[in-house]
Symmetry: C2
Subunit: 264 residues, 2 copies
């Protein structure tokens, strides 16, 4: 099997948010996109159009000559892919935070992981320069090829093994999805009380910025941090008509009190 | 009792983070600071020095001629203040999110609330222009005087009644302290797994920015949002050695599933 000295031609298996974001970033960096495969013809066409490349809707028609095939499909479909994938040359890499590299260890290909750590939406173009890209390869040559490629679109490229990447993905869910749930709970109550949610935006922004300079343990403030039971109880009372929110408030406050006070 | 047509001289009761941040902002806006009172002599001196004004450590020595006395002391001490405060002219206003305006309704003064919604630390100077300042007054004249003053340091001044302000404070705790707890949980695990926490910073940043443009309900993504039980269970397993974190992950995921799926 031949592996190129550098990756200069890429194909995408999948046409969702991650494929779109990566494809556009590759385009800007001058990496040639060969082809997009998606069983959804409209999505395949639409992304191929953006990336000025060809597309196929049947996987057996895939052009097998790219240096790299990037799998950007839902996690649970990655394992099944092997059954249908034609024999390809080059490297095959998935983009999943939570899947081990081993899910690709089923044929004779070189394989790896190319995981960009960010939340992508098709509607919003993302500046890739600072987005961390986490690389893992089936062997050193593959790792190095993937690293070289990643460095063409990002200044923030790291090697992580599968266990580390899984923990990173778990914490990414925590800081992204769960923080957004906090915004979500706040939003629902403020709407009902006829208070403009945008009043919270400077605070949300400052909270996110603060941990760029000091670690989250030092940045922690608030009633639970200072064990101010009177304010906590007042807040729990305000939440009497919001049982889900109240449960969250109680658990998170208790954990903060335990973390900062009970251990003293 | 005389109330000025505008507030041009301010004194501070308290010398902590809020007094410091407000005092510096007033200074820049050309509002004269008369005096700082704090029972802690060092803090009183230090703030008076920054604000180029006098200071007292005994409340009975307070210069009673300011147009406005801003109370910036811990919530639970506000009520007691009344016992010691000499008879003053002008307005008295507290800066608390969670205390009703009525805690100041104990003498014949004009009174109000001047609540800046932000997280303050003495070490970091804050640009006040976009910080929301929430105003409430004992009467229309007082409200208007406080609004006029607030507009000299911020473009984001709103009138809120005490109930609304208490809900706003509760949601501020949620988006600030509880989001920071998410960062905190993530940080502790990443340290142990020898993964650099700064990999999460672009995602934390993007999560905070996203809700500037779309509402948090639409911005919600992740395994629980799409009811992806397989990823959720994998994450819970990864958290077996972190029981507190696991409890948070489980509760928040269940609430998201309930919010986005069970109601469909």
């Amino acid at each position: 099997m031949n592996v190129a000295h550098q990756i200069s031609r890429v194909s995408f298996i999948g046409s969702g948010n991650v494929a779109t974001a990566l494809g556009l970033a590759f385009n800007i960096a001058g990496i040639k996109i060969d082809e997009v495969y998606s069983p959804n013809e409209n999505n395949a066409k639409s992304l191929a159009n953006k990336l000025k490349c060809s597309w196929v809707k049947n996987i057996e028609d895939l052009n097998t000559n790219s240096d790299l095939f990037i799998i950007a499909i839902p996690d649970q479909k990655i394992i099944d892919l092997e059954k249908y994938l034609p024999k390809i040359n080059g490297i095959i890499a998935h983009t999943s935070g939570s899947q081990s590299i081993d899910v690709l260890n089923t044929n004779k290909n070189k394989y790896g992981v190319f995981y960009p750590l960010q939340t992508f939406t098709k509607s919003k173009e993302i500046e890739f320069t600072n987005i961390p890209i986490c690389i893992e390869g089936s062997d050193e040559t593959t790792s190095n090829l993937l690293i070289d490629l990643a460095k063409k679109i990002s200044n923030n490229v790291v090697m992580l093994n599968s266990e580390q990447r899984q923990y990173l993905h778990l914490t990414a869910v925590t800081v992204n999805n769960f923080s957004n749930l906090m915004y979500n709970l706040a939003h629902d109550v403020l709407i009902e009380k006829e208070i403009d949610f945008s009043l919270l935006l400077p605070l949300i922004q400052e909270t996110a910025l603060k941990v760029h300079n000091i670690n989250p343990s030092e940045a922690q403030t608030g009633p639970a941090r200072r064990n101010d039971k009177s304010t906590i109880n007042k807040h729990l009372e305000l939440l009497n008509s919001y049982p889900d929110y109240k449960e969250v408030y109680r658990l998170l406050s208790n954990q903060l009190i335990r973390k900062y006070h009970d251990k003293l």
